[in-house]
Symmetry: C2
Subunit: 402 residues, 2 copies
C-alpha cells in the first residue's frame, strides 16, 4: 500500500475496519484534534455505544516558520516501537494500540479524553497526588531496564540501532540546544524581554555549560529516552496517568527526560504570575509545584536504586560507590537539562501555553523573566549540583527577589 | 554467491582474477599467514614480477578458549567501510584495497611485507622517528572529522548506525573491561604473579574507575574509532606507516584508541626487562619509548587543536573554554584507557609478545609486575590527570623503585 494522506472519511473507514471496537453500522463522528504541524490526529467516536479511538497519521513534512520541511515517516515506526517497550515496562502508563499501518505511517490508539493533559491541569491549579510517584516510577523503569545496567549489552545495541532517530534529534539539537544561545530566526520573543535574551546571547559561561549539555545529548547513549517528555505528552486523571507520543525516542542521557519534565513544572511555576488569582493562592500553588519537582526526583531516585539493588545484571556495576556516583551524575544532568529546557520554551521556536496564554502583558513578562532566571541559574549550577533542593532554592529565589 | 571457506587454491584463483596485479600465467605462491582465530589471511605472490597481495577472509566463528563461538561476518563490511573512511581522511596511512566480496566476507589488499609490525620493531629496539607524528595526525584526523565537532550531525548518526558493531564490542567489553577485574576463566596468568592479580581483584577503588571507563566505552559515541589500535595493527618503515584491521571500528570515546596505543608502548617498555642487553641500553630505550608516548599525545593534541581552529563546523563549539575542556577530558580518558589496556594484556585473555616471549622467567615476571603497576596507577589517576607527563612519571616510578 502506498502512502497517502487520509481524509476524515478515510480515517473513519479505517476505524470501522478495526475489530471489536465499534458495533456494526455505528454512526461514527470524526473530529480533527491535532495541530497539523507534524501529524493529523482524528478523534473518532460512536455516541450510542460510547466507544471512541484516536487515529494518528504522520505527515511527510514538518511545518516550521511558515515553510514545510520534509520529515521522515520512519518516526511512526519509532513511536510504535517505543510504545511497545513502554508497554512492556510500564503497562499501566501506556495507551492501548488498536492498529498500526507502517505504509500509511498510521496508528489507531486508545482515546484518552477521560484524562486531562497535565499542562492544562496545572494551568487550572489542579493537584495530582499520584503524579510524582507514577511518573517517577515510569522514568526509573524505562531508563534502568533499557540501559547497560540491566539490558544484555548486545540487545541494548540492537535497540540503539532501531532507535537511531537523526531527524527528530536534529530538531531538538537546533531548537533547544542551539538557537536560544544565538541570534537565530528560530527564536521568537516579545520586545519587552529583549534585554534578558541579549544577556543570554552574551553570556559565555552559560554557553559553555549549554554546549556541554548538548554534547551529552549528542553522544551519551545511556538509555532509551522518551525524548519529548513535556506536560502535553502526559495525560492524567485521579487514578491514572498515560505517557504518549514518544516519536522523539532515541538512546540518550537519562537526565534529559527528567529534566524536560521538571522544566515544564518550572515553566508553569513561572506562569503562575498569570494564573493564580491572588498572592496567597500563588504562593500555595507554587509550593505544591516545587513539592512535585522534589517528589518526582525523589521517587525516581528511590525506584531507580531499588531496581539497581534488585535487578542489576552487571557484576561490575556492583562496585562499591558506583551507584552513588551514577545517581549523583544523573541529578547533575537533570539540573542542567531542566535549565536548557526552561530557557528554550520562553523565547525559542516552541513556547508553552503556561506562559504564552497569560493575557496580561505585565504578568506575562514577569513570568518570562522568572523562567529565564531559573533556567539560567540551573544551567550554571548543573555540574556542581548535589541535591534536588538546589533546584527548589533557585526557583524560590527567582520569585522572592522580585 | 553463498559463503564458503576458501582453500589456498581458491584464494589463488580469486587473486588471479583481480585486474592489473599479476601478469597472465604468473606462477603464484600462497602462504597462510594469519593465526586463524578470526580470519584466514593468505599472502599471494609472484616471484618473477615481484608482485604480491593479501587475501583476508573472515571466518564465521572466533576460536575462544578451546571452543569456537559464532561471530558475525558483518565485521568485514565494517572493516571495509572503516578503511574507506580512513582512506578519505588519511590516504597515506591506508592500505590499498584491490577487491571486496561481501558474500564471501573477503578482501584483497596491498601486501605490506616491506613494512615491519610496530610491535616487532619495538621488540628489536628499533626507532621510528616519524611514528609519533604520523599516528598522532591519524588519531586527530580520524576523531575530529568523524565527531560532532566537524561532521554534520545527521551524517554522523548515519555513520554511527552503519558502525554499530555489537559482537566485536562485546569481545572488548568482556576481555578488556570485565574479566581482568574478576576471577574469570578468561584470564590466563603464571602462578608467580598470582599475588599481584589477586590484589587487583580485591581493589574496589580500582574497580570503580574501571567501571567508569567501561561505561564510557559502552555509552560515549564521540567519534569513529579503530577499536583495536595496538602495535600489531600498525605497519611501519622509515618513510611510511599503515594502519590496518579496523574490524572493531565503532563510535566510541576518542581516548580509547590513543590509550590502546600508549598501553602497547608501555607494555613494550615493561618488556624491556627481557629485550635490552644491559641496563644502559634498557634505560636509553625506555627513554625513547616514553618520549614516543609524549610525542604521540603532543602531536595528537597539536593537530586536533589545529583542526578545531581551522575546521570547526559548529558555532556552539567556538564557545570560550570548550576546546580546552574537551582536550583535557580526552587526556583523562586516554590515561584511563591506557591503564585498562595495559592491565588486561598482562593476564587477560590476549597477551602481548613484548612480555610473553621473554624467555627468562625472572625477567618476564619483572616485566609483568612493572606493567601491572603502571596499569593500576594509570587507572587510578585517570580522572585527575592534567598532563601527559604524569604518564611518564608513573612509568618511571614503576621501574625505578625496583
Amino acid at each position: 500500500m502506498a502512502y497517502y494522506i487520509l481524509t476524515q472519511k478515510d480515517a473513519v473507514e479505517y476505524a470501522r475496519g478495526i475489530k471489536d471496537i465499534f458495533p456494526d453500522g455505528a454512526q461514527l463522528i470524526v473530529r480533527e484534534i491535532g495541530d497539523g504541524n507534524l501529524n493529523h490526529v482524528f478523534h473518532i467516536s460512536d455516541s450510542e455505544s460510547g466507544r471512541s479511538l484516536i487515529v494518528k497519521q504522520a505527515l511527510p513534512y514538518a511545518k516550521m516558520i511558515g515553510e514545510s520541511v520534509p520529515l521522515s515517516l520512519d518516526r511512526v515506526r519509532i513511536e510504535k516501537e517505543a510504545l511497545s517497550v513502554q508497554r512492556e515496562l510500564c503497562p499501566d502508563l501506556t495507551p492501548k494500540l488498536y492498529g498500526y499501518e507502517p505504509d500509511l505511517a498510521l496508528m489507531a490508539m486508545e482515546d484518552l479524553s477521560d484524562h486531562t493533559l497535565v499542562r492544562l491541569g496545572l494551568m487550572e491549579r489542579g493537584r495530582f497526588p499520584l503524579f510524582a510517584g507514577q511518573i517517577g516510577a515510569y522514568l526509573a523503569q524505562m531508563s534502568f531496564f533499557t540501559s547497560d545496567l540491566f539490558m544484555e549489552q548486545q540487545e541494548k545495541k540492537r535497540l540503539m540501532k532501531a532507535f537511531m532517530n537523526p531527524e527528530l534529534c536534529n530538531i531538538t539539537e537546533d531548537i533547544i540546544f542551539y538557537a536560544p544561545y544565538t541570534k537565530s530566526r528560530m527564536n521568537r520573543f516579545e520586545p519587552r524581554i529583549r534585554d534578558a535574551v541579549e544577556s543570554i546571547w552574551a553570556d559565555a559561561e552559560l554557553h559553555l555549560e549549554a554546549m556541554l549539555l548538548r554534547e551529552k545529548f549528542l553522544t551519551n547513549a545511556q538509555a532509551l529516552l522518551h525524548g519529548d517528555l513535556h506536560t502535553d505528552n502526559i495525560f492524567i486523571k485521579p487514578d491514572s496517568a498515560k505517557v504518549i507520543d514518544p516519536e522523539f525516542a532515541y538512546y540518550g542521557p537519562i537526565g534529559f527526560d527528567i529534566g524536560t519534565l521538571i522544566a515544564n513544572l518550572l515553566l508553569n511555576y513561572s506562569g503562575q504570575e498569570g494564573w493564580s488569582k491572588d498572592e496567597t493562592e500563588r504562593i500555595v500553588y507554587r509550593r505544591y509545584l516545587l513539592d512535585t519537582v522534589r517528589d518526582l526526583w525523589t521517587q525516581f531516585e528511590l525506584r531507580f536504586r531499588e531496581l539497581w539493588n534488585g535487578h542489576i545484571a552487571d557484576r561490575m556495576a556492583k562496585t562499591k560507590g558506583y551507584q552513588n556516583l551514577y545517581v549523583s551524575r544523573l541529578l547533575q544532568d537533570t539540573v542542567g537539562f531542566a535549565g536548557v529546557l526552561t530557557v528554550c520554551r520562553v523565547y525559542g521556536f516552541i513556547h508553552v501555553a503556561d506562559i504564552d496564554h497569560i493575557d496580561d502583558a505585565t504578568a506575562r513578562e514577569r513570568a518570562q523573566r522568572i523562567a529565564l532566571e531559573i533556567g539560567v541559574s540551573l544551567i550554571k549550577r548543573n555540574r556542581y549540583a548535589r541535591s534536588i533542593e538546589e533546584v527548589l532554592d533557585i526557583a524560590l529565589e527567582a520569585v522572592n527577589e522580585r
